[in-house]
Amino acid sequence: MYKAVIIGGSAGSFQVITRILHSLPASFPLPVLLCLHRLKHVRSGFVEALSLKSGIPIIEPDDKEQIKPGKAYLAPANYHMFIELGNKIALSTEDPVNHSRPSIDLSFLTAAQVYRDKLIGVILSGANRDGAYGLKKIKDLGGLAIVQDPNECQVRTMTEASLKMTPVDHVYNTSEIIRFLQTIKT
């Protein structure tokens, strides 16, 4: 019944996302869209680091790439990553939003418009407010919203901003997020 999972994270999210990806079975039935802020000078090696323990392949997609289930798509450094009708990625070098490129808000917003009530949005630890508005749009369009428990977050700004902006379905710690994702069947 769901068509995609989208995850946004910033400062303090790297270990969480590593654990989540590690826990996913190779047969995971959905595409996983990842929009993570990274330090500007750490542009290479990030995919490799995430891939080390991941249960599913991680791709830094090209523009207009087809989105497939069972793969994770990581927004490339210094590009915004949009989701377009027809299950395609679109990249853009437009100005940063919330001082961020990629911007989580933009990825979430465009994914919400494409997948509507068939989308799961997850906000993890982070030090700015990017993603809060995007998560609200996912909720507004009928999708499911999950926020990492701020008490577990290394930096709680992003999760708290999200919780302030919209009522969410679940506030989970990392283990609970993992358990939830593992129960997803198509």
């Binding site: 090209d62 523009d63 207009k64 590009y79 990249l91 070098t93 437009e94 465009t110």
Partner: protein, 279 residues
């Protein structure tokens, strides 16, 4: 107020009517977002925007500048410049002339990066640099070669990575002073390219959608980076055809880090790293 598909079509049709600009094969989504931003920034509704476009040529240029994306930086994506240095440019070392076209050069940072690299490789004299953009305002900025300093500290990091370090041996370090190529004025907050660079390229207004090859020359190297991501599939193919027919055999096309040739033109090129070599 949200821009509708109808608003977008209205905008595209008007622009096509009152100017040479044809955005009908740009990617809808990105164009819609840009249009939305313009309406918000100018505090106009779609009808007032259209009315202004019909009456004011300067306004058309302003809007086209805003509609198109002009992100660029000095030595953007250092690995690409390492590829140019180690594998692409050496192919042309023995040419009497090297023709290079920067298609969609925006405010010119890529053009200056290329000239700096060519100069370090001792190949600048034999190079002819052509640089084009759809928008006259950004071309003016490119000709000036003056950039903000504090906002662009990353330029210096990139310069160090590409020009000072040897990518094949990180222990090797060439002390190349910035003043060799540009002057930094911390008070005025500017980076100003040296005259021998800013006077070299031929800058021309050019629209990839309508203008073909305006230089009566063929090219050894065409750079068109982060431009075609804003085009739809059919327009992308037209642009690949234009590039292919204007490259010399074994000429190289360099796209953005995450742009690829999809479709029929892919077979007419061979990959070299992330660049495309004409078969």
């Amino acid at each position: 107020m949200q821009v509708t598909d109808q608003d977008l079509q209205f905008f595209i049709a008007t622009l096509k009517n009152v100017s040479k600009y044809d955005f009908s094969e740009y990617s809808d989504k990105s164009l819609k977002r840009r249009l939305q931003k313009i309406l918000e920034d100018y505090n106009l509704d779609i009808f007032s925007l259209i009315a202004n476009l019909k009456n004011d040529r300067a306004f058309i240029e302003k809007v086209v500048k805003e509609v198109t994306v002009n992100t660029t930086e000095l030595f953007r994506d250092p690995p690409v410049w390492h590829l140019l240095r180690s594998r692409i440019l050496p192919r042309f070392r023995n040419n009497k002339t090297i023709n290079i076209w920067h298609a969609g050069c925006s405010t010119g940072q890529e053009v200056y990066s290329m000239m700096i690299l060519l100069n370090e490789m001792g190949m600048l004299e034999q190079a002819k640099i052509f640089a084009t953009d759809i928008n006259i305002d950004v071309l003016d900025a490119a000709k000036q070669g003056v950039y903000k300093y504090r906002f662009n500290l990353g330029y210096l990091d990139n310069f160090d990575k590409v020009i000072k370090q040897n990518p094949l041996n990180f222990e090797e370090y060439n002390e190349v002073p910035y003043e060799k190529y540009f002057e930094i004025d911390k008070v005025k907050d500017t980076i100003t390219m040296n005259k021998f660079l800013s006077e070299k390229p031929i800058f021309r207004k050019h629209d990839l959608v309508t203008d073909g090859n305006i230089f009566f020359a063929k090219f050894d190297l065409i750079l068109c980076r982060n431009v075609i991501i804003y085009f739809n599939y059919s327009l992308q193919n037209k642009v690949f055809e234009l590039f292919h027919s204007n490259l010399y055999p074994k000429g190289v096309l360099l796209l953005g880090m995450h742009e690829t040739i999809l479709g029929p033109w892919a077979t007419k090129f061979e990959k070299l790293g992330q660049s495309y070599v004409k078969k």
